[in-house]
Symmetry: C2
Subunit: 559 residues, 2 copies
């Protein structure tokens, strides 16, 4: 992964001239590109690992298992949230781990935590490093130093119980590696967050994530049937029973605990037969309300496809404009970020002719949805037929497969585009929530308005757009994207003001402060609102029990 941004260093540029022009004409861009500094120019405080401690760590993990070099410290200095990237690119991360440690076995992990307790080393569990909420920020709290605990070597064993459809893996395994292993057995986990290409499975469990196909396969917590985790005080083992009434589900404490209680090192995951057919299609609704009603009907009839996402008017409008530009310049192949924001597709599919057709049918200002059906061919056929009946009942217009296929091709591309937007001085941030169906439209309006107002107050009026995805019988998630010109020299303050306004609008509007990004550093201010004082007390009591020295990921999750 690029130290200053996302993904493969060899990835081709994703931002086309048409898109750039569109941004220049709307929110504005920097006068000249603002590339990241050179790696050598990233400023880090000297590594503060005491000599004696270094020797003890090396005795435990081997010389290779303890790294203090500049590149490795930078690579573990931050996650991939907007403020992380702003700071990294400017060469001024908020801090860096004093060392990066790489245990290879659960036994080493156990001894490592004991040593960290003894020597007062804060521990930041580090999987794929893809947190967008500051979940891996190397904060040392009250401790002598801080180490990033890189889980990459704890990726074995993989045991696949094909009869029970349970895959047991080391938590350091990356999501694509598991899918490759499962493919040989015609199985799939079905967990595809936007960070899919880099995310570790342990990170998914610890952060409470949800993949793009969670409506069909379930959010990550639903995929976890068993776990092993090591806390400073010992190991917790959650047996992979299909269900149990033997007291509270302790696994629920580890899911979403973000490394503040224990390090999850093994996961037993429910897997499914790999779908023999995948049918992704576009649907157009006259307006957001009609689309939301259709999604709700699908969810409550339990006929929703594996992927179901509906862009609001703003996201649809911008996407179509951008798609025009992209189509004009034949940049479509790399216009991925917009595609992933669940639009562009329709235009890529039918171009201007299709748009004229839609306008003629009265869908000029409407909303685009992407539906993805997965399963056995006969079932896909049946589910598709039923879902389209519901869509039609809500005035929806089926656009065929091209928009859906385009979305699939670009589903993991957004983070690449974000890097280029930063180069052009554009603030780009995403944030998300979930609420009940009866509150969804009101929360959508409230949060959109709050972000727009906050951007205006910063002197950088912007574009706010949103899609509904992740459907449940009782409600759904809302995923907001905002674009504005960066306030150069005040990027973090600008971001913080917007983030605060959005968070307040979510909390006061009855949403959860996060549906799948997690809490980390950025959402801590709303945790007491989310859980109440007694709820936080309960979490603190657990923390005291499992991590009495307070070494586990200090400064995250708990307010």
């Amino acid at each position: 992964m690029r130290w200053w941004g996302w993904g493969d260093p060899g990835h081709p540029p994703a931002l086309g001239q048409g898109m750039l022009r569109l941004l220049r004409d709307t929110v504005g861009t920097a006068q000249k590109p603002r590339p990241p500094v050179a790696l050598a120019r990233v400023k880090l405080a000297p590594a503060a690992l005491p000599d004696g401690v270094r020797g003890e760590l090396q005795a435990l993990l081997g010389a290779d298992g303890v790294r203090e070099d500049h590149a490795e410290r930078v690579a573990h200095a931050a996650g991939r949230g907007y403020p992380d990237l702003v700071r990294l690119r400017s060469g001024e991360p908020q801090g860096a781990p004093d060392a990066v440690v790489y245990p290879r076995t659960p036994a080493e992990l156990r001894e490592l935590l004991a040593l960290c307790c003894k020597r007062s080393l804060a521990v930041v569990p580090f999987g794929g490093g893809t947190s967008v909420v500051g979940g891996v920020e190397p904060l040392k709290g009250e401790h002598a130093a801080v180490v990033a605990l890189d889980m990459r070597h704890l990726a074995d064993p993989v045991r696949i119980d094909g009869v029970s459809r349970i895959a047991t893996v080391g938590a350091g395994m990356r999501a694509p590696a598991l899918e490759r292993r499962l493919m040989a057995h015609h199985l799939t986990l079905g967990h595809y967050p936007q960070s899919f290409e880099y995310v570790s499975l342990g990170g998914c469990a610890a952060s409470g994530g949800a993949g793009q196909a969670s409506t069909g396969y379930g959010r990550f917590a639903k995929l976890v049937v068993g776990m092993r985790a090591t806390a400073p005080t010992g190991e917790l083992a959650i047996a992979p029973h299909p269900a149990s009434a033997a007291g509270p589900e302790l696994g629920a404490l580890l899911l979403g605990s973000e490394g503040t209680l224990a390090v999850i090192h093994e996961l037993s995951l429910r897997v499914r037969a790999a779908p023999r057919e995948q049918r992704y299609e576009g649907v157009f609704f006259a307006d957001f309300t009609a689309g939301v009603d259709a999604l709700r009907a699908l969810a409550q009839d339990r006929t929703a496809p594996a992927v179901a996402r509906l862009s609001d008017e703003s996201e649809t409008r911008i996407a179509l404009a951008q798609a025009d530009a992209a189509a004009g310049e034949r940049e479509a192949e790399h216009a991925g970020w917009w595609a992933n924001r669940s639009a562009a597709l329709q235009a890529r599919a039918r171009n201007r002719a299709g748009r004229v057709y839609l306008r003629a049918r009265g869908y000029g200002g409407g909303c685009l949805a992407i539906f993805g059906f997965e399963g056995e061919p006969a079932e896909v056929e049946h589910d598709h037929k039923r879902a389209l009946e519901t869509v039609r009942r809500h005035g929806g217009l089926a656009l065929g497969s091209a928009p859906g296929e385009a979305w699939r091709r670009q589903r993991f591309a957004a983070p690449y585009l974000r890097d280029e937007l930063l180069t052009h001085g554009v603030l780009v941030e995403t944030l998300e929530t979930a609420t009940s169906w009866s509150n969804l439209l009101q929360l959508h309006r409230g949060v959109s308005t709050a972000i727009e107002d906050a951007l205006r107050a910063q002197g950088t009026p912007g574009i706010v757009m949103c899609h509904v995805s992740h459907l449940y019988e009782t409600g759904a998630s809302l995923y907001f994207t905002l674009l504005a010109r960066q306030r150069e020299g005040a990027e973090i303050e600008q971001w913080r003001a917007v983030k605060r306004a959005a968070g307040e609008a979510i909390a006061n509007g009855g949403g959860t402060i996060s549906h799948h990004h997690g809490v980390g550093r950025d959402h801590r201010p709303w945790m007491a609102h989310e859980h109440g004082e007694r709820g936080i007390d309960a979490l603190r009591a657990l923390k005291r029990e499992l991590d009495p020295a307070g070494i586990m990921n200090p400064g995250k999750l708990l307010p």
Copy 2:
């Protein structure tokens, strides 16, 4: 509810002469009937509520809100497990609450818990009183006295959000009352435990239960989207977000906590459209293995009906024999207990002719299953067609609707029959577990054998039978029923020996100690095995935080 047993005092006798003869010829029955003693002869220790405390309780709850009379104390002296009933019927319960208290509002509940802390009163939350694992046994632990906290008046408000399909109710509400309220909105909760007619919704949440249709509607924990609970240190509120990544799911701590941490007083529950069609049918499999394979295929294809239960050969054989007797004597209408053990039905449907037919087709020693499809007519048609394709692929024979309808009529009748069996000196107990599909047959054999051996060792060889129900993608539950002659005068010792043997076989065989009955008093010995020492430590830490005085349901759940 009858103070000495189950249900409506006016319920007609359920045990036919044929069935009784069958038992006499197999396991043996008492020489003469052993009815319960008269209520007035039930021995209770004098109520030990200090005068000052009585006054304080009455000041808070009113004179009606504090009861110390014999009948009310007896009614709250035990749940409805086998040892509870043996003791009640003999007039010698292990104890009784010193008072029964009835708060009417959450505010009264809060003040009541504060008063109980101050005066060292142990608190046993009491919903329907249907626990079969000793969950409401009035143990006072180290405290001065013990009160049963009857939740019946905390049954309001009912708020139905039809858009989000969320019903919010007071936790003291009984399950049938909610279904009646929902019916007016064409909605259903779909939670039908065998205790349905008496169970409180708060009790379902606190004990981690699952209804007979959980394969379709989900176990109770899946139905709970929000909660309010009062702990001695304050209120916990779990907001009804459809999903959240804002830290660990604290609701999971309350679900299954069995009143040891807090009293759940309000629930927000996911409801569904009431099914417009219900199709219940019987299916016959050549053997248990074939039936289990079919159930697994249904679960993993996600085509399992709402109710899917498969009797093993033993349960099927006994049921057919009993059905013969019942049919001969025209007792079928009240042979409910057997019906509910998921058999009898096939014989009631087709009588001897049908059996001859089955034998002729090679199903002589086979296994009966009941499938219940619920939903919109078109979907029931589709699901039924798909499920029967799977059944046929596994050699199953469809028996039509009569067995299914018979099962439905008798689905809540078993506890009535149990009372009559006790009158005739028959030990009748049920216990249950769940495990992965790959371990299911082995665990079934292991537990069956352990119970048979334990009964033989008691000098009372018995009948052990089992059914699979509650299907999941990764595994299923096993529900065992055992019948034997009671060892008169040593009923509890006999039961304890069998229970211990079964529990050890479950724990050592990789099952959970309970799939849906809960832990209470009876399963505590296996909690450390289930959760490990660190898991128990975590639960204890939570307990210390929420209930520092340890007044909440002492002697339950935690080992």
